[in-house]
C-alpha cells in the first residue's frame, strides 16, 4: 500500500509574472516525489534551482524527489525586464 502512495506525485503550481512568483515559498518533504509546474501568466519566465534539479521555461513541469533537507532559492532565469534580477522564490525541504 505504501508503495502505491507515490504513484501520483503531488503537484505544486508556481505562477510567474513580472517580477514575482506565487507562492513565493513552498515546503516540500525530503524523499517525497513532487511535480513542480511553472505557469507563466504574462510573458515567458523560467524557474531554476540547480540543487533541486529545477530548470523550467515558460509553461513547463518536472517531477523531482528532494534528497536533502534545507532551504533552496530558485530564480527566474528567463530574462523578463528591469526587475528580473530580483525575481526569486524559496523552497524549504523538511
Amino acid at each position: 500500500m505504501k508503495k502505491n502512495l507515490f504513484l501520483f506525485a503531488l503537484v505544486v503550481v508556481i505562477n510567474a509574472k513580472r517580477f514575482e512568483f506565487s507562492p513565493s515559498e513552498v515546503h516540500l518533504k525530503r524523499g517525497v516525489p513532487v511535480t513542480i509546474r511553472l505557469v507563466s501568466t504574462d510573458r515567458k519566465h523560467g524557474l531554476s534551482s540547480k540543487p533541486l534539479g529545477l530548470e523550467l521555461d515558460g509553461n513547463d513541469e518536472v517531477t523531482i524527489t528532494p534528497a536533502t533537507a534545507g532551504t533552496f532559492h530558485a530564480i527566474c532565469d528567463h530574462y523578463c525586464g528591469a526587475g528580473h534580477g530580483n525575481m526569486k522564490m524559496t523552497f524549504v525541504v523538511e
Binding site: 540547480k50 521555461d57 532559492h73 532565469d77 528580473h84
Partner: protein, 308 residues
C-alpha cells in the same frame, strides 16, 4: 607557472596607479611563431564591460573609462565590450536611442577596432534583433597577431544559454587550429557555475568548455557580475571584469545580490577597465579611481624614480 611568469615585469607604483612594462620571454615568442605560422608581436587590448548606457546612475563612468583608455601608456590595438552595453527600456524607440548613445561615447575611444557581444540587457528581450542592427552578429571570431578571439553569445536566447547551434559553430571554428593556439573567448555571463542562485552561470557552459578543453591556452573574459573575479578550470582561465555603472558584492561573503552602495565621495570606486597584454595574455585590472601614468608625464615620472 602563472600567467605573469611569461613576462619580465618592471613596475613603478605612483599613487594608486601602476605602469607595467613588459617584454615577452623569447622562448614563448618562438613557441607561438613555430606552432601557429604567424610571427607574433607583443600587443595589448582592453576589455570594457557593463556600461549600461541609459541606467539611472548615468554614463559618467563610461566616459571616464574612455578617457582612461585614451591615456594608457601602451595604446591598445582594440577594445572588447563584454555585454550590457545598454540598459534596456520597454518604451518604444528608447532602447535604440541608448544604443546610439553608447556608440557615440564608444566612438571617442582612440582605437581602430571595437568588438562587441551582447548582455541580457541588450538582447534578451528581442532575441538580439536591435543589437544586430547596431553591432552586427552576436557571435563570431577573428584572429589577431597569432591569437584567436571568439565572441560567444549566452544571452539572446532569453536564458543563460549558448545553444547547440552556436556550440556546433564553435566546434567547427576551433577545429582549424592546433591545440597550442592561444584562444581568447569573450562573452557576457560566466561559463561556469559561479553563483547559480544569482544567475551567475551559463546552463551549457560545460559544453562550451568541453569544446575548448583540448586547447592549451584558453582565456575567458566576461562581465555580468560587476566585479573582478578570477577562476581556473583545466587549461582555461576565467576573468570577470568590473562594470562601469555599479558593483555587486562578493558572492562568497553575502547571500543578497544587492549593488554596493553608491558613494558620492568616490563615485568611481569599484568600477574599472582591464588591459590585457599578449602573447602572455596577462590581465591588468585598473580601477577608475587609480591615477594613470601615461604618455610623456608617465615616462618622466618613471625616470625620476630611476626605473627606466
Amino acid at each position: 607557472m602563472n600567467r605573469r611568469s611569461f613576462l619580465r615585469l618592471s613596475a613603478a607604483s605612483l599613487g594608486t596607479g601602476a605602469l607595467l612594462q613588459f617584454t615577452p620571454a623569447r622562448a614563448s615568442l618562438s613557441h607561438f611563431a613555430m606552432r601557429n605560422g604567424e610571427a607574433p608581436s607583443p600587443f595589448s587590448f582592453v576589455q570594457l564591460s557593463d556600461t549600461h548606457v541609459g541606467h539611472p546612475l548615468g554614463t559618467s563612468a563610461f566616459e571616464r573609462a574612455v578617457d582612461t583608455v585614451n591615456a594608457l601608456h601602451s595604446r591598445p590595438d582594440f577594445i572588447l565590450f563584454t555585454g550590457d552595453l545598454t540598459h534596456d527600456s520597454e518604451e518604444a524607440g528608447e532602447h535604440a536611442k541608448r544604443m546610439k548613445r553608447f556608440k557615440e561615447i564608444a566612438g571617442h575611444l582612440h582605437v581602430r577596432k571595437r568588438f562587441y557581444v551582447p548582455g541580457e540587457h541588450d538582447a534578451a528581450l528581442d532575441g538580439g534583433t536591435l543589437f544586430r542592427e547596431h553591432f552586427g552578429d552576436t557571435h563570431y571570431s577573428f584572429d589577431h597577431r597569432g591569437v584567436h578571439f571568439i565572441g560567444i553569445d549566452n544571452v539572446s536566447e532569453g536564458k543563460p544559454l549558448v545553444g547547440s547551434e552556436q556550440i556546433a559553430w564553435l566546434r567547427r571554428d576551433v577545429a582549424r587550429f592546433p591545440h597550442t593556439t592561444p584562444i581568447v573567448v569573450f562573452t557576457h555571463r560566466p561559463l561556469f557555475d559561479l553563483r547559480p542562485d544569482w544567475e551567475w552561470f551559463t546552463t551549457d557552459g560545460d559544453d562550451v568548455m568541453n569544446v575548448l578543453a583540448p586547447y592549451d591556452n584558453v582565456t575567458i573574459l566576461y562581465g555580468h557580475i560587476h566585479r573582478e573575479h578570477h577562476h581556473t578550470s583545466g587549461h582555461a582561465r576565467h576573468h570577470a571584469a568590473r562594470s562601469l555603472i555599479f558593483a555587486f558584492p562578493d558572492p562568497a561573503a553575502t547571500e543578497e545580490k544587492k549593488p554596493l552602495p553608491f558613494d558620492k565621495e568616490h563615485p568611481f570606486r569599484n568600477l574599472g577597465i582591464r588591459q590585457i597584454t599578449a602573447p602572455a595574455l596577462a590581465v591588468n585590472d585598473i580601477e577608475l579611481t587609480a591615477r594613470e601614468i601615461s604618455g610623456t608625464e608617465g615616462i618622466q615620472q618613471l625616470r625620476k624614480g630611476g626605473s627606466l
